[in-house]
Amino acid sequence: MSQSATSRPVYRSPFDLPREEYLAPGHSLCAGCVAGMIVRHLLKVAGPNTIVVTATGCVEVSTTLYPYTSWRIPWIHVAFENAASVASGIEAAIKVLQRKGVIDPNKRINVIALAGDGGTYDIGFQALSGLLERGHKVLYVLYDNEAYMNTGIQRSGGTPLFAWTTTTPVGKVWKGKWQQKKPIAEIVAAHRIPYVATANPAYFIDMVNKFRKGLEVDGPAFIHVIQPCPTGWRFDPRYSIKVAKLATETAMWINWEIENGEFRVTVPVPKRKHVKHYLRMQGRFRHLTDKEIEEIQRFIDREVEYINKRLGKEVIGPLVE
């Protein structure tokens, strides 16, 4: 039946989350891969009237090992670079079919594009920018594991400074990636779309409410989710959520949203931890010297200052430990 645009409830606790699982188990994501948890909750929020387009990557490959699928809702994969284009086409087709009365015009069908960092920052960027500019009502979710994981941990535009990957090795000359992470969510926000957010699965209530808002707005929405990858980041899978939490506690990952132009930080961090707590948990940063860690800390300090200035108040507090 038809749902009004504001019918989705606000989630306040795990007990508010639907019990239905639209991502079946039996998928082959690595043990402890947070992508599985993120997609589970994305689909819980979206519900059965949803079409998902997935770019090539770990989620796509692991959930559709032919002739098996983990998707309990309609799902399509076309290529690595064009999830946004495929989603645009689906959204446009639904509009036409509803206008012609082939599909009930009151039926709400969610269209979600789901892609990794490689598929978003790099190869899929042009398709994404086109979707945003044309204004399709699509929720685009970027699950960011900070490298091309499916093909064996190659660096992407989302790989952070100094991180080891197989294409940013650690040796006499190279000490991991030379460049900073591209501020993709801010670049998306520059398209002036109705909703842009960053989210962290460790703060799942914040994350699911962002999914909810992203599905409600009339136009494109973009949600950038950090996704710890035990295999590529080199840590014991049991710490996946700990690592995610530390990303926010150190302000290496700030959870914010821009709703119709209004910027806010949704997870304030009154007392900030030193970035070393996050970095030292992961093998991809094992080679870092204290000097390099301080360089990252200074970069984060500047980011925090920029966020606080932008809001005109201190939402991310001083370093305490």
Partner: protein, 107 residues
């Protein structure tokens, strides 16, 4: 597909479509496990965090009343679905009251 032949090229639906939603349940991942999470229903405070964080939907909510030794009544419990649990240990790590033990699987 164990023991079965893969479909021939002309038997595959157009576009390589898979017509049975969620059929990956026929391909259990429980045999990936090297450590087994075991939930202590006595200690568990039914917060659902393990259910939230499990990447494999391998924590089940069981709607059956449970009475602890100390007399506390619960309306439901959580159980690990060992058919799919990969033994990542996230639930063990995230349980706020340490109600989940992590025991090495031995043959």
């Amino acid at each position: 597909m164990q023991g079965k032949q893969l479909p021939k090229w002309n038997e595959i639906p157009p576009g390589g479509a898979i017509l049975e939603p969620g059929n990956s349940v026929k391909r259990p991942t429980g045999d990936w496990r090297t450590f087994r999470p075991i939930i202590d229903k006595e200690k568990c405070v039914r917060c659902l965090l393990c259910w939230v964080y499990c990447p494999d939907a391998a924590i089940k909510i069981i709607d059956e009343p449970y009475r602890t030794a100390s007399g506390k009544e619960w309306k439901f419990s959580v159980e690990v679905d060992y058919t799919f649990c990969k033994g990542c240990g996230i639930c063990v790590e995230e349980c706020p009251v340490k109600a989940i033990e992590f025991v090495e699987e031995v043959k």
